[in-house]
């Protein structure tokens, strides 16, 4: 079982839990199981094409899966998955 940490604003879609223990051999499998168990989470993490929203980053322990094998990244029992958004911006022009 891996532990998925649920960010505060998404806990309302996960029975108000701050973390969920989920089975899965890869990040993709864990996310699939997570969003099957908590269906409302799906639209917050995935877009209409079923891809992770572009601002959603997934970390396995301290590693960003973009630099591993993305959603095929293996997950071991005891691993912790974190959902972390990309955030940037700035005033336009000078």
């Amino acid at each position: 079982m891996a532990k998925v940490l649920i960010p505060t604003p998404l806990r309302q879609y996960a029975d108000k839990r701050d973390s969920v223990e989920i089975e899965g051999r890869t990040v993709g499998e864990v996310l699939e199981a997570l969003t099957s168990q908590y269906a409302e989470l799906r639209r917050h993490l995935f877009n209409d094409e079923g891809k992770l929203r572009n601002f959603v980053n997934i970390y396995v322990n301290d590693e960003d899966i973009r630099y591993l094998a993305k959603e095929a990244t293996p997950v071991e029992a005891g691993d912790t998955l974190s959902i972390v958004p990309s955030i940037a911006g700035g005033r336009d022009g000078f």
Partner: protein, 140 residues
């Protein structure tokens, strides 16, 4: 509604002043009471944008992960992100919108001539196509 407590606000202002004329960014930690967000702790984050920082900021996801872990450790919640607009008003720009996330409040501080002038808070949608303003209460 989002309310920023004095100590957190002072930290946000100090960060915005220290980074002027560049943009600053940071995380806001606190609690949520009946849908109202109370910011009790502001954490300075490094502006990771590689390039001109007078009109851009970027939060490193790893830094946000650290902020999120600290919130959990201290029994707080990550409720928002703040950044500054040097010598510009506190509006939610096209760049802000295109690089936003709908999960958090986005507080923008207008800094004019090195001093914080005013602030506003915004809630972007999931498609990054629009943001609504939310009521912001902060010390003045």
């Amino acid at each position: 509604m989002i309310r920023i407590e004095p100590q957190a606000w002072e930290e946000m202002v100090a960060h915005a002043r220290a980074t002027y004329p560049n943009e600053c960014c940071g995380a806001m930690l606190g609690r949520v009471d009946n849908g109202d967000k109370i910011v009790q702790l502001a954490l300075r984050l490094e502006n990771a944008y590689e390039g001109e920082q007078r009109n851009r900021y970027e939060v490193r996801p790893e830094d946000l992960l650290v902020a999120e872990r600290r919130a959990r450790r201290e029994g707080l919640e990550l409720v928002g992100i703040f950044h500054s607009h040097p010598d510009a008003d506190a509006y939610f720009s096209e760049t802000d919108l295109k690089n936003s996330c709908p999960w958090y409040s986005f507080v923008v501080l207008s800094v004019k001539g090195g001093e914080v002038d005013h602030a506003r808070s915004f809630l972007p949608n999931a498609e990054q196509t629009g943001a609504v303003e939310e009521e912001l209460i902060y010390p003045r």
